[in-house]
């Protein structure tokens, strides 16, 4: 395994190669895709991208947590968390190393 870390720059480079846009505009498009997904999730919407996966927002109830170092009890407030469920296609391709 190569274990490299890709960033926004690599995604915009891929967009740049795929469509004849400037690097700058490619970067802005990557940003607006992430922004739209974030906005939808922040408003409580589920985001379902076919053959990629589903992002959904879940409500977590309040509970009593414990500081593992001191053993002290701390209240954990109710909160919203994001969960990502990969599509079957993604799971299969990741499991088999299928780079398409």
């Amino acid at each position: 395994m190569s274990e490299k870390t890709l960033t926004r720059m690599d995604l915009s480079e891929a967009v740049f190669r795929e469509v004849g846009l400037s690097r700058n505009e490619s970067a802005q498009l990557v940003e607006s895709v992430l922004q739209h997904i974030s906005d939808a999730l922040a408003s409580g919407e589920t985001v379902k991208i076919s053959s990629f996966g589903t992002f959904s927002v879940r409500d977590k109830a309040a509970r009593i947590g414990r500081n593992p170092k001191t053993g002290e009890e701390v209240p954990i407030h109710p909160r919203r968390v994001l969960s990502f469920r990969p599509s079957h296609l993604m799971k299969d391709r990741v499991a088999s190393g299928d780079q398409g």
Binding site: M1, S2, E3, K4, T5, L6, T7, R8, D10, L11, A14, V15, E18, V19, L21, S26, L29, V30, S32, V33, L34, H36, I37, S38, A40, L41, A42, E45, T46, V47, K48, I49, S50, S51, F52, G53, V57, R79, R80, V81, L82, F84, P86, L89, M90, K91, R93, V94, A95, S96, G97, D98, Q99, G100
Partner: protein, 93 residues
């Protein structure tokens, strides 16, 4: 929101682009993330989150119906960790 709605939103914001190019752009972004994970790479999108691959070791599983032992091979599974900024936004911060 589904993929086509996302494409629609991006298209509306970019009237100078053809709809089919917007589709290619959006699809390229998701495809690139899957390709990276298929290679075993991580994709870190600051503020949004990070996609990575977790290795699950081979183990002996059990057929829950029959109780029979089955060998489960090691496998790689996709994993997503929410970024701090997005996590805070979900909680109205």
């Amino acid at each position: 929101m589904i993929r086509s709605e996302l494409i629609q939103k991006i298209a509306e914001e970019n009237p100078h682009l053809y709809q089919r190019d917007v589709e290619r752009i959006v699809n390229t972004i998701f495809e690139e993330i899957i390709k990276a994970m298929a290679r075993g790479d991580r994709v870190e999108l600051r503020g949004f989150g990070a996609f990575s691959v977790k290795r699950r070791d081979a183990r002996v599983g059990r057929n829950p119906r029959t109780g029979e032992s089955v060998d489960v091979d090691q496998k790689s599974v996709p994993f997503f960790k929410t970024g701090k900024l997005l996590r805070d936004r979900l909680n109205g911060k």
